[in-house]
């Protein structure tokens, strides 16, 4: 840390509370600025304790022994900021946790720029899902937090909600915007089941909403602000969903049934491979024609795996109509695990469907050309994978 940099610490009173406390120190010494490096980082000044209101706006700053350094007042939309008690506006986010830009005198949100001086957003709400016919204020696309700045906050520029410190406010308005923990689960029907977090430790994959947090299907880790804080990732944890997905391809009832039956097992293997569940489901869907191939119905071989009884997780050999030895498995999961064991080295972390299929051609899973393979293997496999999320949402 060099001269002029600030060391900041933040913590929450309670995980679900918007009340957060922050401490900052201005670090480094002008006389030692040329030295830089770690030694200069040790020269941090006195700590300043920041006290925010329930919206995250700093209202009071104190020293380590409780002496008041400054107090701050502003109007509901953040306009009319004044300081008293000798304080100066040194907070990096002086309105509702939005990051203040001193050059333009505006605030950064994830998706829009806010002007606290004017008290409204500088661009209309880009999230069409925030229209709420029961709330006319939602039709004013520039208004902050549906014109309720004392009760709601909007850290992203997409979603007005009650609790700025929780992950719900990091996300678009998925549910009925009642500020409850079911905002996310309410949105599950309109958004894809695949969730990616900003935190690499949680990986990419499928998560299940358990009523209060997203749970990693593979290792059971809960994903919330507390976990992110513990891992030093900062809060609020940013989670992103895939593009909005609606049910599609539902007339293929066997494909839909196949997906529902095998989704949980596919998710386990997908997590192991670091790929979306639809990659595993789609591949097995096309390789077994949704569980109707003779290898699938007679040998639980959903990936067209050869190798007989010697293949990983195989329990026996099964012969095709042409006399080829294929593997027999006890279940879909075993078949998928065998696929992962044999081809995981090629597809590990390859999330893009086309790249995933191309990697399988490289691996020799399918020759990718006639006369011994499918010249359209990459195209067809990618298309099947891409169609799978829509089918996952079919009733």
């Amino acid at each position: 840390m060099r001269w002029g940099q600030r060391r900041s610490f933040h913590w929450q009173v309670a995980q679900s509370s918007a009340l957060r406390y922050s401490v900052f120190q201005d670090c480094g010494c002008p006389a030692l600025a040329l030295l830089g490096g770690p030694r200069n980082a040790l020269l941090c000044g006195a700590a300043h304790f920041q006290h925010q209101d329930w919206l995250g706006t700093e209202r009071l700053r104190t020293t380590y022994n409780g002496g008041v350094e400054g107090s701050f007042t502003s109007l509901p939309f953040g306009d009319g900021l004044t300081t008293a008690s000798g304080g100066s506006d040194a907070d990096a986010s002086h309105y509702a946790t939005l990051d203040h830009d001193y050059e333009s005198d505006t605030e950064h949100a994830d998706f829009r720029q806010y002007s606290s001086a004017q008290g409204h957003w500088l661009s209309p709400d880009p999230y069409s899902g925030s229209y709420d016919f029961s709330n006319p204020q939602s039709f004013n696309r520039y208004v902050y937090a549906t014109n309720n700045p004392l009760g709601l906050v909007d850290a992203s520029g997409l979603n007005a909600c009650v609790d700025n410190a929780s992950i719900y406010c990091s996300l678009p308005n998925f549910g009925d915007n009642d500020g409850t923990a079911n905002e996310l689960s309410e949105g599950l029907s309109t958004f894809g089941p695949s969730v990616t977090t900003s935190a690499g430790i949680f990986g990419t994959g499928n998560f299940t909403w358990n009523g209060w947090a997203w749970v990693n299907n593979y290792n059971g880790d809960e994903i919330d602000d507390a976990a992110a804080e513990e891992e030093g990732l900062g809060t609020p944890l940013v989670m992103s969903f895939g593009p909005a997905i609606s049910p599609s391809g539902c007339s293929a009832t066997q494909a839909v049934s196949f997906i529902k039956t095998n989704q949980a097992a596919a998710a386990k293997v997908a997590q192991q491979l670091g790929v979306p569940t639809q990659n595993v489901l789609g591949l097995s869907g096309i390789e077994s024609t949704w569980g109707t191939s003779n290898a699938a119905t007679q040998a639980n071989n959903f990936f067209g795996l050869h190798g007989g009884a010697n293949a990983p997780f195989a329990t026996g050999v099964w012969y095709t109509g042409g006399g080829q030895a294929m593997s027999s498995f006890p279940s879909y999961l075993a078949s998928a695990q065998s696929f992962a064991e044999q081809y995981g080295g090629y597809v590990q972390g390859v999330t893009n469907p086309t790249a995933f299929a191309q990697a399988l051609v490289t691996a020799g899973f399918n020759p990718g050309k006639a006369p011994l393979g499918n010249p359209n293997f990459v195209r067809d496999t990618a298309a099947t994978i891409n169609a799978t999320p829509g089918r996952m949402l079919c009733p």
């Binding site: 007339s251 066997q254 569980g291 169609a387």
Partner: protein, 149 residues
């Protein structure tokens, strides 16, 4: 409502019921024959039975892959190359995974026979795709030479 329009309406309903299409049972043997023609049109030497073979596609409990269709798998060394679904009212065939409609000339006689028996008009490619739950169907009309692949 006067009597004349009511009678006319009844007639229309009767006529509609008479025009209802009939589902034609396509035997597995017929379906495999058609699938063999398609695989051949796709450029594969289907005489090599150690490499290429065909089998019906059904669930473990005998349900069809797609309702209203008889489906056959075209296998290469045990791996599915194409899943060919044949309409039980029009005889038209497609692959639900590639969303390709097979409309090769040598399939016409079979399709016309099925359509004649079922008294059903041919479906459009989009209608077939809707049945299969796929989008952007491609209609294949020209047989492919394996040498050109």
């Amino acid at each position: 409502m006067s009597l004349v329009p009511s009678i006319f309406l009844l007639f229309l309903m009767f006529a509609a019921s008479q025009a209802q299409s009939v589902i034609v049972h396509i035997t597995t043997s017929d379906a495999v024959d058609l699938a063999r023609m398609i695989a051949s049109d796709e450029g594969y030497d289907i005489q090599n039975t150690e490499v290429y073979y065909f089998d019906s596609l059904k669930t473990r409990d005998g349900k069809p892959l797609l309702k209203g269709y008889t489906s056959v798998g075209f296998y290469i060394r045990g791996n599915i190359r194409s899943s060919i679904s044949i309409s039980e009212t029009t005889g038209q065939a497609f692959d639900m995974n590639s969303c390709e409609v097979f409309d090769y000339p040598d399939l016409k006689p079979f399709q016309e026979r099925i359509a004649h028996l079922s008294k059903t008009k041919r479906k459009t490619a989009q209608e077939l795709a809707d049945d299969a739950g796929c989008s952007s169907p491609k209609v294949l009309t020209n047989p492919i030479s394996l040498a050109g692949r």
